[in-house]
């Protein structure tokens, strides 16, 4: 009996799982064009604008890092290394699309319309940073891992019910986020309702200290969408054009009424999880980090456009100075925010104030008028 063939070869089934995901790439790590037909769709001026988005994000990161160390910002989750993944995807969206970000997605939120000084106020812990005008189609950065995924499904269903054309909900999480139930529930709901959502997973290798390989036995994170019956893809997350084109295609697919898409970007978090004491030296080695540092998304696009004669060090220096000046002005504006009042907090718990809130407003008014 022992030699009998089993009815099913689970080893073979397991070996085949996730094998059909081949990361999309347009310009490789050596700045060599892999897909010339994609590059040909863009003028050098357009590509320069893309590079500038990444330089902007890198500069924002460097200044945020410094400001955090000086105690002038509060919570900050470094974005260095993820510029192609974040700007490449976000730039494929429209300002009328609804962004449901997590806490590392501040650069996308700013590009989507949040003023930089408000992002800084959010970091410091000031409600003004979360007061969004009607036409800013986004929610504040989500702290609970994965919660934005189920909400994005709701926004997408709302878009469908409102019959709004040319509009999607898009959301981000990390590799760790794909272990949450909400990650799957969000994709499954959007899939079941055929709602226009684009789910982006920035696989940056780590959920704080736990590496991607310990999160799941799945070969890819992209394959997790298969169970929800929605299409997914892996993309070189250090390749701006690849991320941009894939996201654009995902958006087009969703607005055509086909339902949601999931994208896994393969990227790397160059720095710590947050600036609140995380030290990557505790859980990863220089040998592991160096190839990723060499794979910096800015290097290949800077190199390609410099070779094309479309970009120069002097241009970059000028641009960085301009971005720094903008950030400096934003810090000043954030400094000018008025002190927060408990009475205002109390007034924003409910629209119509119940007795306990009324009593406490009266009590705090007396304190605050002293």
């Amino acid at each position: 009996m022992d030699n009998e063939q089993p009815i099913v070869d689970f080893s073979a089934i397991h070996d085949a799982l996730g094998k059909n995901f081949e990361p999309v790439q347009v310009i490789d790590g050596q700045a060599k064009v892999v897909k010339p037909e994609i590059v040909a769709k863009y003028t050098n001026d357009q590509l320069v604008e893309f590079l500038k988005l990444m330089i902007w994000e890198r500069t924002l990161h460097q200044r945020s890092n410094a400001l955090t160390r000086q105690g002038r910002l509060g919570f900050y989750a470094p974005t260095e290394g993820q510029e192609a993944s974040e700007m490449g995807s976000n730039s494929a969206m429209k300002s009328t699309d609804v962004l449901m970000p997590a806490y590392r997605d501040i650069p996308q939120l700013i590009q989507h319309g949040l003023p930089v000084y408000k992002a800084f106020l959010w970091s410091r812990g000031h409600v003004l940073g979360n007061e969004y005008p009607e036409d800013l189609h986004a929610m504040p950065p989500q702290i609970i891992i994965g919660a934005q995924y189920v909400q994005a499904a709701g926004v997408a269903l709302g878009i469908k019910k409102n019959k709004t054309a040319d509009k999607v909900a898009y959301t981000y999480t990390g590799d760790g986020g794909t272990s949450q139930g909400d990650f799957y529930e969000g994709m499954n709901f959007a899939g079941a309702f055929q709602a226009p959502a684009v789910f982006i997973v920035q696989n940056n290798g780590y959920a704080i200290s736990v590496p991607r390989r310990k999160q799941t036995n799945a070969r890819t994170l992209a394959q997790k969408a298969v169970a929800a019956g929605i299409p997914s893809i892996q993309v070189d997350g250090m390749d701006f054009l690849a991320v941009h084109e894939v996201t654009k295609a995902a958006r087009d697919y969703a607005i055509a009424g086909n339902g949601p898409v999931m994208i896994e970007t393969l990227t790397y978090r160059f720095g710590p999880h947050t600036n609140a004491g995380d030290d990557p030296k505790r859980y990863r080695t220089k040998d592991e980090e160096q190839p990723w540092f060499d794979n910096d998304p800015l290097i290949r696009y800077r190199k390609y456009l410099t070779e094309q004669g479309a970009w120069s060090e002097a241009q970059e220096d000028d641009y960085v100075e301009q971005v720094k000046a903008d950030i400096k002005a934003a810090v000043k504006q954030a400094d000018d925010a008025p002190k927060q009042k408990i009475t205002e907090f109390l007034s924003n718990v409910f629209e119509e104030q119940p007795q306990n809130i009324q009593q406490q407003i009266t009590a705090y008014q007396a304190k605050e008028s002293k």
Binding site: P140, I144, A147, V150, Q151, G154, L157, E351, Q355, I357
Partner: protein, 325 residues
Amino acid sequence: MSKKTYIQAITDALRLELGSDDRTLLFGEDVGKNGGVFRATDGLQAEFGEDRVFDTPLAESGIGGLSIGLALEGFRPIPEIQFLGFIFETLDSIAGQMSRERFRMGGTRHMPITIRSPYGGGTHTPEMHADSLEGYLAQIPGLRVVTPSNPYDAKGLLIASIRNNDPVFFLENLKLYRSMKADIPDEAYTVPLDKAAVVREGTDISLIAYSAQVNQSLKVAEKLAKEGISAEVIDLRTLSPLDEETILKSVEKTGRAVAIQEAQRQAGIAANVAALIAEKGALYLSAPVGRVYAPDTVYPFGLAEDDWLPAEDEIEAKTREILTY
């Protein structure tokens, strides 16, 4: 006016609000074609179409998140959580997300969501189907917790909840669904949120209850009246935030109070009522505040339910104890 059961009053409220506001959406597990496992949404999908009344995949956290996203897109979601015991799966959506959005965003966004859910013991359900979890919900700032004790309030409170621009957790008592009938108006009307009702006036003692225990308390008051004891009965209706004025006014008049709940003793609504009276009405009292509750165990196995649940005689005994203290 028509004679309606508690659950028919709920269906009536849902039908009227779906009919009068096309931004309302009703959804959850089995609420569509099946009309809900208790038939609370019976016939609503047929009447309003699958776009407005629809089944979701079987995932409570997804239902909570879906509600938040739909509210952002301008809808007024009325999700159903099939049994209150299932909210643990979606507590983040309730406590971590929707109840915080108005506050979190400085009043620039709001969440007009009414979550309906049946609860309460005495119908021999499987585990996690009958628990009284309102104490958990009452600790959430930004969330109203509302529960009716009769068909009139069921309709009026539900309509008020749906029309309110903030999240409301609307608790429907399983045992009352079909055991109570009353004449209620056919048209839409509201019963105010944040307001308790004095359902029986009295001068000797205040029985402060909600949901099924209001009816038990009324029976006790009736019995005591025959002995010349005048018990006032208060139906809290909104469990959080509490209507402090009505409670304190009653205790000022009677000088004695019993707070009654079906939930376990620890950290429940009755504790909030007792604390309120201790904090703001202690000098009105001629006796300690009494409490009636279930023992501090997990909700019991079905065959032991009747021994575990606080019964009318316990309310009566506690009332007599406080009266003669």
